[in-house]
Each structure stands twice: as structure tokens, then as C-alpha cells.
């Protein structure tokens, strides 16, 4: 780590520190730092107010929002697994109108960078939500959840077929000038093909990865633990898969990547940046350490100072060959 000397951080050589710049450019979206909080793990930003200065986070990706309100799946909705957890929340949310009227103004009042995450049952849903959201320039970008494994209709279908991915991205691009970031499902044979389709459809960046589809069995009752049977696996357990997929996409597809999956520490964040992520997201990690986003920002800053790195551009994709 970097050394504190008379109040200033010093680099390894002990010479005067560089002026680090944590800001990143995720396609058309400029973020003050690369740390975002993942959709569905941070509510609408108020729940963690006691633990974080939320406007210091690169961006808050709000929970998955649909056209109409949804009540979500029956319990049990979560279960811990080795170094991870399964969730089957089922997109419980108040709908896009309530979000825009109630939550967005609160977020903006507090100077929070907002990325809206949306989900739908069909292309038309996505289009409608985007056209409703359009004009709200306070929304930095729209993350398109085409990969939620929990909803019977929509969900997996969109994220696993390249043609549909291209089609839905193109459709929403026609509805709004807000940058579009499709969130890719890892439950596919060829992630590169999907990323290429997203790009072809006009995506401004891609977000990856969403959860791996999994399940757990309650051996006492001899039935699935989750009310929904299947759930999404997140947390450190999936980090190796996330890194691999980002590596594959970064190597071949020329599109900025918002990377995540199991990030807990700044060292994890560095792994993601070195395989090509421009920004990163913390999800499950928040449940363990609600201060993780700030800790990661601080850790990255220290790392950059210590290693004389001015901009993360210098190490982005460094491990990809």
C-alpha cells in the first residue's frame, strides 16, 4: 500500500505523488469514478445512507424497474451458498412511473448519479419504459436487464439469443437518447456473440455479468429452497466466470464494459479492470460490507498513487493478450 507521510500519500519510490484521476468514460457516460452499485442490491439508494456518502459513488444502478408495479416471487427468496448466494426476488418494484415521480427526484436532490435498470416481458415493454424515461436527463444511462433468470416471461429469452438481443437494443435506442447499456446473461454458450449483437443493435456499453442460474435443495423437506425453484447465483463464487467472460468480450468486441460479479475489494476491482472493464459494480459485496464502494474507491486511489498511475486507462485490459 501507499505510505502516508506528513498527510500526503506517497508512491513506492517516495517521490511526490502523481495527480490521480479516477474518472472514467463508459462510452458516452462520464463517471467521477469507476465504482457503481449493482441493480437490485442497493434499492433506490436510501437504504445505505447511514453507511455511505452515496453521491461519492460513481453511479447508483437502481433496482430493476418494470412498466407496471410487481410484487415479486413468493418466499423463500434468498439462500446462502458457498461463497455466494442465490436470489429469486422476482423483480419486485413499484413500476417506472413511481420511480420517476418518487425516487428519481430524491436521488437527484442528493446529487446521486443514477443509472436506471429496466426489465420487461417483451420488446414492447422495454420500448415503452424507455420512451417514458426519455427526457429525464438526470438518468445517466439505462441498463437493460435482458438476463434476469427469475421471471418466467421475458428474462432468459432476451439475453440468450443474439438476434433478439440486437432487436431489443435497436428498438429501445429508437425511443430514447439516454445511453443504453444491455446487461448480459452469463448463462450462454458464447458471450462474445451476444456482446457483438448488443453492439450491432447500437448499445453504448455492455454490463456483465448478471447472475448464473442455480438452485439449492432443502433436504429435510425434499424440495427446492427457493419459492421460485431457480435463482440467480451471485457473490465471490462467480468471480472467475465473470472475469473470463469480460476477458473474452474485451478481446474481440470494441465496446466499453461495466464489469461485475463477486467484487468485494479493490483487488477484485483491479482484476476486472485488467481484463478490460471500464467501470465495475458491487452487488452482493454490499451485504457483507456496506462500505465496500467507498473502501474500493480508497483502495484504487492508494494503488494508483503507489504505482504512479494517473488514469486507469494505463492498466485497463493489461492482462488481455
Amino acid at each position: 500500500m501507499s505510505i502516508m507521510m506528513g498527510g500526503t500519500l506517497m508512491n513506492k519510490a517516495g517521490t511526490s505523488p502523481v495527480n490521480i484521476d479516477l474518472s472514467v468514460q463508459l462510452g458516452p457516460v462520464k463517471l467521477p469514478n469507476p465504482i457503481t452499485v449493482a441493480s437490485g442490491t442497493f434499492g433506490y439508494g436510501t437504504e445505505y445512507e447511514d453507511y455511505l456518502e452515496i453521491n461519492k459513488i460513481g453511479a447508483v444502478i437502481v433496482k430493476g424497474t418494470t412498466l407496471e408495479p410487481r410484487t415479486g416471487n413468493p418466499p423463500a427468496r434468498i439462500i446462502e451458498t458457498p461463497a455466494g448466494m442465490l436470489n429469486a426476488i422476482g423483480l419486485e418494484n413499484p413500476g417506472i412511473e413511481v420511480f420517476l415521480k418518487k425516487h428519481l427526484p430524491h436521488l437527484k436532490k442528493n446529487n446521486i448519479n443514477v443509472i436506471l435498470n429496466i426489465a420487461g416481458n417483451c420488446v414492447d415493454d422495454y420500448k415503452k419504459i424507455c420512451s417514458i424515461a426519455d427526457g429525464h436527463k438526470e438518468i445517466l444511462a439505462i441498463e437493460l436487464n435482458i438476463s434476469c433468470p427469475n421471471v418466467a416471461k421475458g428474462g432468459l429469452q432476451f439475453g440468450t439469443d443474439p438476434d433478439t438481443v440486437e432487436q431489443v437494443v435497436r428498438a429501445v435506442k429508437g425511443e430514447t437518447s439516454i445511453p443504453i447499456i444491455p446487461k448480459l446473461s452469463p448463462n450462454v454458450t458464447d458471450i462474445v456473440q451476444i456482446a457483438e449483437a448488443a453492439k450491432a443493435g447500437g448499445a453504448d456499453a455492455v454490463s456483465m455479468i448478471n447472475t448464473l442460474m442455480g438452485m439449492a435443495v432443502d433436504i429435510k423437506n425434499r424440495k427446492p429452497v427457493l419459492g421460485n425453484i431457480f435463482g440467480g447465483l451471485s457473490g465471490p463464487a462467480i468471480k472467475p466466470v465473470a472475469l473470463r467472460m469480460i476477458y473474452q468480450v474485451y478481446k474481440v468486441v470494441d465496446i466499453p464494459i461495466l464489469g461485475g460479479g463477486g467484487i468485494m475489494t479493490y483487488e477484485d476491482a483491479l482484476e476486472f479492470i485488467m481484463v478490460g472493464a471500464t467501470a465495475i459494480s458491487v452487488g452482493t459485496g454490499l451485504f457483507v460490507n456496506p462500505r465496500a464502494p467507498q473502501d474500493i474507491i480508497d483502495g484504487l486511489s492508494g494503488y494508483m498513487i503507489e504505482n504512479d498511475i494517473v488514469s486507469l486507462e494505463e492498466i485497463r485490459g493489461a492482462a488481455v493478450r
Binding site: T41, D50, G72, P75, A83
Partner: protein, 259 residues
Amino acid sequence: MPLECGLVIEHQQVSRDMYQIEFISPQIAALCEPGQFVHVKVNASNSPLLRRPLSIYDADKRLGSITLLYKVVGEGTKLLTRIRTKEHIDVMGPLGRGFNVKPPGKQVLMIGGGVGIAPLIYLARVLTKHHYEVKVLHGADSRRNLVTLEKLRSIGAEFLPATDDGSAGHKGLVTELLAKKINPEEIDYIYTCGPDQMMAAVAEYAFNYNIPGQVSLEEHMACGVGACLGCARKLKSTDEELVKICKDGPVFDIGGVEF
């Protein structure tokens, strides 16, 4: 709510699988109310990953300390036993909505099943201080697990045990004890925490005798603060939307819960 690294000042085994841990956590102690819980990281590793919710068993606001009473049931609680005095424990809290500490009337009844007794102890302390008359019924498998006796005595609450093996008090269910020993006319308010089956019986009792009261529920949790929507449960009152135990509870009106 604070996230604190509490200095452990006492950690002892109080029965075969129950432990009591006290730590200095001035911010949490200053804010906490009976029925609230803390969210505890039991180890520094990735597995088990999530925090564990544990009720505030007692709090000393002057000293700035929190005490938890927990039962070892799985990997997480087992690892928790390994934290030693003078080490630190990573806790978030106080979380959730606690019990009504200004119940109507003067005479309150608390019914705890197993380690469900934990949140009732701090509640009993606060209510006796506010001059309520507190009766506590506690159901346990055996006398060894009636670990709160001393505390309740010092608090000045009346204590009536029931044990499965008859080693102390009534032999059998605590709800049988309730039916046998308690005059519903003399009870103004009921609190209960324990296995769902027991709470269901208590809720029925409360309904039959028209006594108001509260229950404390459990559900698996991830965030503990209402962000993940994981700890959902259906109440009678709510049409569609599920309540979140961590934020809307863990304490709910006794009449509103579906068991």
C-alpha cells in the same frame, strides 16, 4: 445505522449449544431499542459469506455495550463461538423496528420459545423500568437451556418455565403452561418470539381473548436494511406486497401474521 467493530468484553458458553457475547459498541448501544437486531459478520472469509441477524439480548447504554444470546445451529453460529474476548466483532445495527415499549395497560406477558427468548429479555428490562408488571413464560427442551433465569430475576420479572423433559417447571409445551397458569383477564399485552408453531398458538390465544400484542419473526436475510428485498413474508393485512422482515419488522402486530 452504524457499522462498528465492537470490542468483545465477554463471551461465554451458557449451555451446551448457547452462547452469550458482550461487546463494546457505543454507537449501536446508544440507539438500540428492544426487539431490534444486529447483523453480524461471523468471520473474515468468503464462506459463510453473509452476515447473521441476531437480536439484542441486552444493552447497557451507560457502558455502551450490547449483549447477544445465540444458539449454535449451523456453520455461521459455530464460527461465531471462536471470537475471543479482546478481539473485535463486526456488527451493523441496530436494525429493524423493535417492540412497542409503551403498551396499553400495566400487565404484560412474554412468551419465548427456545432462543426466541433473546429479544424479550431486553424488552423485559425496559418495561419493568417503566413500571410494567412483566411475566415471562419460557419453553425450552430442558432446564439447562433456561439460561435467562438470573437476568430476569435481576430485572424483576416473574419467570415461569416449561421444559420438554420436565427438568424444570411445567413438563411439556409452553403454550400448555400458558393455558394452565395464565389468567387472560390479567394480561393487557402479549409479546412472543420463538418457533412459528408456538407463535401461531400464542396468536390464537391472543385472538381468542382479544389481547393485543406483538410477535418477532425470522427470515433469511442478505442486506438487513431493506435493499435486497430478500426477507419477504406475506402478512394478512397486505393484499399483495410482501413485508420485509428486516425493515418493516422483525416485530409485527400479533393479529396480522399468517403462520
